[in-house]
Amino acid sequence: MTTTLLNADKIRLDGRKLDELRPVKIDVGVIKNADGSALIEFGKNKIIAAVYGPKEVHPRHLTKPDRAIVKCRYHMTPFSTDTRKNPSFSRREIEISKVIRQALEPAIILEDYPRSSIEVYMEVLQSDGGSRCAALSAASVALADAGINMRDLVAGCAAGKIGGEIVLDIDDTEDKEGEADMPTAIMPSLGLVTLFQLDGKLSESEFQKTFEFAIKGCMKVYQIQREALMNKYFGQSEPMQESTE
């Protein structure tokens, strides 16, 4: 069953190499009303993230006197999947919303916005494998677009195992037929992990290699996030400069 995911030359069904990312494209500022927003196309995933806030907390008893609270909602539209998805909030969406929130919170300087809430909405218009990593990568760009004080961007990418090989960036088919999936998100400049999940079966050495791949994938996504923000605010022509040390 799993052997069909890779051909003899270890090329994947969609023509990718083992360590190749699907095409990723990010557009910044796609939702006019939002304080910050981004559209990410990650393989067949099409996800819009929008940020509202900081704003007053509702209900009020959730207010924290010394910091902002983050509200996060990852939601799939009914037409985003092969068979229609029930529009109501599923257990999967509740869990993903939680892990994404906890992946973004370390990056936001919550103490700079006491008594307020920062709301992050991610709407999956079309889903493919790895939608949580794509959604959170878009959300992090939307937060930067909203001008919210952040320690770093958050870049997400999954690695996994298909047909006995460790691969980067699992798509829908590979997720269903493959052996393991490790969604990961990091703060790339600081080198810290903010989201980590695993399902599947990996030996310890495979675990370590998959984790290595996931980090590499996150760094690739980070480059795309960076270019998207730079293009939006500084225009394409100007080259990006690294810090002079």
């Binding site: 906890q102 992946a103 393991a180 703060m187 080198g191 992990v193 903010t194 980590f196 990996l202």
Partner: protein
């Protein structure tokens, strides 16, 4: 706000005491950094369940009950039995647990538990089929947290594994006309591997194993890793609003695999002898 965080309003005093202890390689409850609390497992605690277990991990107490019933397969998996895992932190479990539908913590607990069973292939779902596309076994695993003192992922995993390992399934016969008769006799629900969860918390830059509620309220981040009998990683989940370094994740994988071996032994002993205390 998380129930855990609400549960203990840790004074700055407790936190600084904890920091002091951590420096010495100890914790507020006297444990070493990687020491688990006292674990006791008892199986067959609910007679009406197909399989059940009560786990006490320190002051945390969890009962898992498995029910194996006849069901219809999902259309996309006609040749597979079903697994449904739920978890509930009962209102009796702490001053901050509330009645009502499961909150995001309970849903996370159920989903991570589910992944451990499913991904480890602990149950061979292809064998839980009576007639393809028509009749399969549905395995329901319901976790009830009776007293919450943290470490729910771990305690739930031990309870679930113990309950499923001792569970029976009803035998059934299929008549010529396709009608199903459920018999009084039962068979063992065969279990192929024992996935066990290990949860670590990062507090003030130090890693501790098996955090209790108070420690969870102080932690920056949490990592749960589930390993099977072969030491393979089958599930993982980071929690909390903090971060881990790359090296911490790598190191925790090694530690988790090691700790899993001891815990699996305790569970195996329980399954064979009925109850076990470590």
């Amino acid at each position: 706000m998380s129930a855990v965080r609400k549960a203990v309003v840790v004074g700055t005093l407790r936190k600084s005491q904890m920091k002091e202890q951590l420096e010495k390689g100890k914790r507020l409850d006297g444990r070493d950094l990687l020491q688990q609390r006292k674990l006791s497992i008892e199986t067959g605690v609910i007679e009406k369940a197909s399989g059940s277990a009560r786990v006490r991990l320190g002051d945390t107490e969890i009962v898992a009950g498995a029910k194996v019933e006849m069901g219809r397969p999902f259309p996309d998996t006609p040749d597979q039995g079903l697994l449904i895992v739920t978890a509930e932190v009962l209102p009796i479990a702490s001053a901050y647990a509330e009645p009502g539908p499961p909150n995001e913590e309970a849903i996370e607990l159920a989903r991570v538990s589910d992944r451990g069973i499913r991904e480890s292939e602990m149950l061979d779902f292809s064998k839980l089929v009576i007639k393809k596309g028509e009749h399969v076994y549905s395995v329901f695993v319901d976790v009830a947290v009776l007293n919450d003192d943290g470490g729910l992922f771990d305690a739930a995993s031990y309870a679930i594994v113990s309950a499923l390992s001792t569970a029976k399934r009803p035998n059934a016969t299929l008549a010529e006309d396709g009608s199903l008769t459920v018999l009084d006799e039962t068979s063992d629900l065969e279990v192929k591997t024992l996935p066990v969860a290990t949860t670590f918390a990062k507090i003030d830059g130090k890693i501790v194993f098996d955090p209790n509620t108070e420690e969870q309220s102080m932690m920056d981040a949490r990592l749960t890793l589930v390993t099977d009998s072969e030491g393979k990683f089958v599930a993982g989940q980071k929690g909390g609003s903090g971060v881990f370094t790359f090296e911490e994740i790598r190191e925790l994988a090694r530690t988790s695999a090691e700790r899993g071996i001891e815990i699996r032994k305790a569970i195996r002993d329980t399954i064979e002898n009925g109850s076990q205390k470590t």
